[in-house]
């Protein structure tokens, strides 16, 4: 009997990325399915962030193709890719520090805003209605991320862990159909990490979208991922459930160096 395999949400087909003489990624292929958390791990310089940057169009691979919901997106610019429903969060803090938490999240709604500048100047029914709608969505996200009481706080005044949550909130505001997260746990303390891990699981449960995480923190990654992909020197060296990857000797070698020579 042949089991029917669902179509992947996102498919990467043998992409290679070259920076001058350096092969950042070599013939990488992978598929991401609905409702799963996929983590990309690997030592420093393995190509994790480069891969993520290819997925949302910051980098253009020289060869190979990337498909999102069966549409080829390899050569689309990143704002078009964002509009298609690929949301992402960034390494470090990329939120607007001088703006309030709520305004930062509303920024993520911009791709859904329909009224133009002139209509907004008039502030007539359509722009009022639209503003109310977006505020409504933003408030749901604030509630989801347990930041509702902080809606008016200036992002520059709040702690690092909370700023990362704002970053996530902004990505969610786009109503993404896939979420890419670049080191969501970097620089956090244990409590902040636990909170963030719970939010990631909540997003999976509630929105049922696939989440791709690039992350260093092995403990959390192994805990929350459905599937782990290990990279080293721009190549996929292992792929499977967290347990399989954890035990894979190639992965152990990549992290700890060759055991014997």
């Amino acid at each position: 009997m042949v089991e029917s395999v669902p179509d992947p949400k996102m498919k990467v087909d043998r992409i290679s990325l070259l920076f001058k003489q350096v092969m950042a990624l070599t013939e990488i292929s992978l598929a991401i399915y609905d409702g799963e958390i996929v983590s990309i791990i690997g030592p420093n310089g393995a190509g994790k962030s480069s891969l993520l940057n290819c997925l949302n169009g910051f980098y253009k691979p020289q060869t190979g193709d990337i498909y999102f919901e069966d549409k080829r997106i390899t050569h689309l610019s990143c704002h078009k890719i964002a509009r298609m429903g690929i949301g992402r969060t960034f390494q470090g803090i990329q939120a607007f520090l001088g703006m309030s938490v709520l305004d930062n999240i509303l920024v993520g709604r911009h791709i859904h805003m329909k009224t133009n500048v002139f209509q907004s100047f008039l502030y007539w029914i359509w722009s009022i209605k639209e503003e109310v709608h977006h505020r409504d969505v933003a408030e749901d996200i604030l509630d989801f991320l347990e930041m509702a009481p902080m809606r008016d706080a200036i992002v520059g005044d709040i702690g690092y862990g909370l700023r990362k949550r704002v970053d996530l909130g902004r990505a969610l505001a786009m109503d993404p159909r896939i979420l890419l997260m670049d080191e969501p746990l970097a620089g956090m303390n244990v409590e902040e990490k636990e909170d963030m891990a719970r939010f990631i699981l909540d997003i999976k449960e509630f929105r049922k979208i696939p989440i791709v995480i690039v992350e260093h923190d092995m403990e959390v990654v192994m805990d929350i991922s459905d599937r782990v992909i290990a990279l080293d020197w721009g190549r996929v060296i292992s792929e499977g459930t967290p347990d399989e990857v954890r035990k894979d000797s190639k992965v152990i070698n990549a992290y700890l160096g060759e055991a014997e020579h």
Binding site: L102, R135, D136, E139, D140, L142, D143, F144, A148, P149, R151, D202, E205, F206
Partner: protein, 364 residues
Amino acid sequence: MTEMATDVSQTREENFPSLEATTIPKLFQIRVQQFGKRTFFRQKHKGVWQRFSYDQVYGRVKEFALGLAKLGLQFGQTLAISGENEKELFWAEYGVLALGGKAVCLYPDMLPNEIKYILQHSEARFLVAEDQEQVDKILAIRAELPLIQKIIYWDPKGMWQYDDPMLMNFAELLEIGRVFARENPDFFEASIEKVKKDDIAVISYTSGTTGLPKGVILTHANLLDNAYRVAMSVEFKPFSQYLSYISPAWGTEQICGVTLGLVVPFELNFPEKPETVLENIRELGAEILVFGPRQWESLVSMVQAHMLDAGPVRRRIYEVGMKVGKEVARERTEGQKINPIWKVLFPLSDVVVLKAIRDNLGLK
């Protein structure tokens, strides 16, 4: 002597009008008939204060009660409620009282074994829990709670993957109540009439510092009488803004929020989150607060901590102003004779320091 006694009783007759009702649900019904469209509840939702009129509250309470009746709660049986002070908690409480049931509220930070004792002791049949946190605590001890038939939660966040048949969404229960209301249009009003003043309304549990917690029985008559006495000794303006913050697990909130809120009546306001209560006091212009000593202490320490950041001159002014205020307060509250110099200084320190502090705390 007899003349004096008559005089006193006459004044009592004049100044102390009798209450219109002898049970809480009846009083609730009367207030709804009197004030229908006026605001009764306010709660911040999505950053905006939402109003709920008497009519709307009545509608929800009725739906809740009928839903519960449909699920099988009988006269005299117990509903336990666990959560922060929110509109759903009050709907549930007024709802169960209208069915002639008993309400038992639990502190939201109680541990499962504490909850287990109270639920067993009060023979709770149903439980209304706020959210995932509260539900998880009950699910952990459910094997030891054979009487519990349903757990009803009002905040579905995080509960997407729960498919336990014992769980039910609050909205779903209201829907059951709506259907039941169509089939039995007079059930709710008839059930209110059946409740008598000496029926048990609430069981309030002691903290259990000396042995196990003891269930204190509060009848309708008892709650109304308490609230009535408070209302007669403090002159509340009707429709004063009351901020409901202390847990109804504490008997005080049963008297002040649940009952006095109907007696006076108050507009009942629910804070957005427990940690935003100070902001909410200011936003609402809350006129009546009931805090425990711990909350008042936290207000004091907050002011003191802020003043530590102030410059030396400001801090000195603050210290002098507070000193004057404390001396005057001592005379007012304890009746001690104080040095008249403090009274002379009081108006100045009030303007310079005390008013500003009160304003910042939203207690102006």
